[in-house]
């Protein structure tokens, strides 16, 4: 049975029909009809953020934690442009986000109207698809199509721009068709002789390898191929490396787990890559932070690359065997094709590369000690959302992840300010679990206004701020590569304890390791949000480090001569 509905009502109904339960947004002029209709759809819980960037990051966090589409809403002009960083982050990390933006009315488009921006043009390179809805009769189909496009194949963000007059237009509304008209879609790779041939070749390479490695990326988490990857590793005894976005795809304490590779990877991990004769890469894109200089990356290795996206095969590194498909499906096939084997001599060889470092920290407040206290307070059962910088690398290297998909970070874009809003999205996806947002003092100040969102919406996110008084990673680069000229990296912070209290949130400050267990434990058990500031060593560095564009074989393991702080 059909009825007369406005475009805004259709938009709400289409979101409900698509199974959407949470929307992160901020109202404004061109999206007001949508907000007028929203209260009639109580199934759509709206989270009022304090900046649209946070809406996009929160939708991204929700999507990564739930595997479902995260939805954010903004008005035209500045509302829409504020979403851009969040959409770019979702695009780089393959997170299914649908952004809905208001647009000026159709007769005003192209006239430089108030709050008019060509958000379609702006977001073209950072979305899988975007739509300017010019006809209200297509609106419901567009929403259904956008929700499908965002999750299928290699996931990513989609934007729907809806002019205000389209939102107000009333039409007779019936059930939408499954797909928008005339829209063609890329083919999803399926099984075929090429695939079987690739699996056979890969199995042969693995059988003949003396020093094989598994490199596991975000694709394993997206495909939920944890059990298959673990079974493959255990059947063959091949050691496993997890990229930044692959962390938590494989248990951290597993005897075959080596750690993270690349710019801040441990020496033994990068040395293993440089000595490997076969690398099986599953669901990663061999980006420059992983490979360093590609000309000297894994010089002895023949690479088997498994990826859902055909365009990734051979994009950054030459491959011996490329297999296009879902990580879970292909790993399962590979598991059936390989013979059981062990790699004890190779593992022993890698263990010989392991370096131990003795670094001292003020008050014993080492990153290890802080992260151990969070692990213990949460009994190892929480989701960690990190920002970008030194703390991000410490968490990636040191936190003992046990549960799949329990580490969420902005990897590809490296967007500071990600952690706090993304953690709000993670909480809404996993309301019964604990979420810790870990930031530096720089990134935290980018989106700390979201504490108000947490209080208003009842989101019990636990926030850890690593305060070293610097934009730490940039300062480290200045120390190593720019003659220790600390240009514009010292950063003042407010009193975070008082700030938290001003928001009605319990705030704590830790300056000594002896306070960790009790304070972090207290914060962890707070029923609502809580903030803990850790006064860490000001000039601590993340070691080892491969210089940008350098070889994985040549790590920096100590601060350059003449530099202080290490």
């Amino acid at each position: 049975m059909s009825e007369m509905l406005s475009g805004a009502e259709i938009l709400c109904r289409a979101l409900v029909d698509a199974g959407v339960e949470v929307i992160f947004g901020y109202p404004g002029g061109a999206i007001m009809p949508f907000y007028h209709a929203l209260p009639d759809h109580p199934r759509l819980r709206h989270i009022l953020v304090r900046h649209e960037q946070a809406a996009a990051h929160a939708a991204d966090g929700y999507a990564r934690a739930s595997g479902r589409v995260g939805v954010c809403v903004a008005t035209s002009g500045p509302g829409a442009t504020n979403l851009v960083t969040g959409l770019a982050a979702a695009h780089m990390d393959n997170s299914p986000v649908v952004a809905i933006t208001g647009q000026v009315s159709r007769p005003m488009i192209g006239r430089d109207a108030f709050q008019e921006t060509d958000i379609i043009g702006i977001t073209l390179p950072i979305t899988k698809k975007n739509y300017l809805v010019q006809d209200v009769t297509e609106l419901a189909e567009v929403v259904a199509d956008a929700m499908a496009v965002a999750v299928e194949g290699r996931p990513g963000p989609v934007l729907i721009d809806v002019p205000k007059d389209v939102q107000n237009q009333k039409i007779e509304y019936g059930a939408p068709r499954a797909r928008a008209r005339g829209q063609s879609r890329p083919q999803t790779p399926g099984a075929g002789p090429g695939l079987e041939d690739g699996v056979r070749k890969a199995a042969r390479l693995i059988a003949g390898a003396e020093r094989p490695l598994l490199m596991v990326g975000h694709g394993v988490i997206l495909a939920q191929a944890y059990a298959e990857v673990r079974a493959l590793a255990e059947k063959t005894g091949i050691p496993v490396i997890t990229t930044l976005l692959g962390i938590s795809a494989f248990p951290d304490g597993h005897p075959l787990h080596l750690g993270m590779p690349g710019m801040h990877g441990e020496v033994h991990v990068n040395r293993a890559i440089q000595h490997a004769d076969v690398i099986i890469g599953i669901g990663l894109r061999f980006d420059d932070r992983v490979t360093g200089n590609t000309a000297s990356f894994a010089p002895q290795a023949r690479i088997i690359h498994i990826d859902l996206d055909r365009a990734e095969i051979g994009k950054n590194v030459p491959v011996a065997v490329g297999i296009v498909g879902d990580a879970r499906d292909i790993t399962r096939r590979l598991l059936a094709a390989v013979e059981p084997r062990r790699c004890e001599r190779w593992l022993e060889h890698i263990r010989g590369f392991v370096r131990t470092r003795a670094e001292s920290y003020r008050g014993g407040l080492s990153p290890e000690a802080i992260l151990a206290s969070i692990y213990e307070a949460s009994h190892g059962d929480c989701t960690i959302v990190t920002d970008v910088g030194q703390h991000q690398m410490w968490v990636a290297k040191l936190y003992p992840y046990q549960h799949p998909n329990s580490h969420i970070t902005s990897g590809g874009l490296g967007a500071m300010g990600f952690a706090v809003p993304a953690a709000m999205g993670v909480h809404l996806a996993r309301p019964s679990g604990t979420v810790w947002a870990i930031s530096g003092d720089g990134g935290f100040q980018m989106n700390m206004a979201e504490m108000a969102t947490m209080v208003q919406e009842g989101l019990p996110v636990k926030m850890a701020v690593f305060n070293n008084g610097y934009l730490g990673m940039v300062r480290q680069w200045q120390q190593f590569f720019h003659e220790k000229r600390y240009s514009c990296t010292p950063i003042w912070s407010p009193d975070y304890v008082k700030l938290a209290e001003a928001y009605g949130i319990p705030g704590y400050r830790v300056g000594d390791a002896s306070e960790l267990a009790e304070t972090v434990g207290q914060a962890n058990t707070q029923p609502g949000p809580a903030l803990v500031e850790f006064m860490i060593e000001q000039e601590a560095n993340v070691f080892p480090m491969i210089p940008p564009g350098g070889s994985l074989s040549e790590p920096i393991e100590t601060a350059p001569a003449g530099a202080t702080g290490d």
Partner: protein, 93 residues
């Protein structure tokens, strides 16, 4: 790994005849830094469909990677790579 010497490749892309799709296609050329030497856009002869043809001078592997970037783009219906100088001339005339 030594790469083959660059040669002319013609890439023909059939795609939805919608401004936003065409805009996205041109964006791929720009964001992927594709070394194009010629570009043409025509109706394909099928209603609602355009043919974007461009020439790039690159090795075969690069041409294939460019084709794959188009292949995965929403709104693209098919992608064809021709490594034939005659076809190149014909397509860009």
């Amino acid at each position: 790994m030594p790469s083959a010497p660059p040669s002319a490749h013609t890439v023909a892309v059939l795609l939805d005849d919608a401004l936003v799709t065409l805009n996205r296609a041109f964006g791929v050329l720009r964001t992927r830094n594709v070394p194009i030497e010629g570009l043409a856009l025509h109706p394909s002869g099928t209603a609602g469909e355009s043919r974007l043809t461009f020439v790039l001078r690159a090795d075969a592997a690069t041409a294939d990677r460019v084709a794959q970037q188009f292949h995965k783009m929403m709104g693209v219906r098919s992608v064809m790579v021709l490594a034939n100088e005659d076809s190149t001339t014909e397509a860009t005339r």
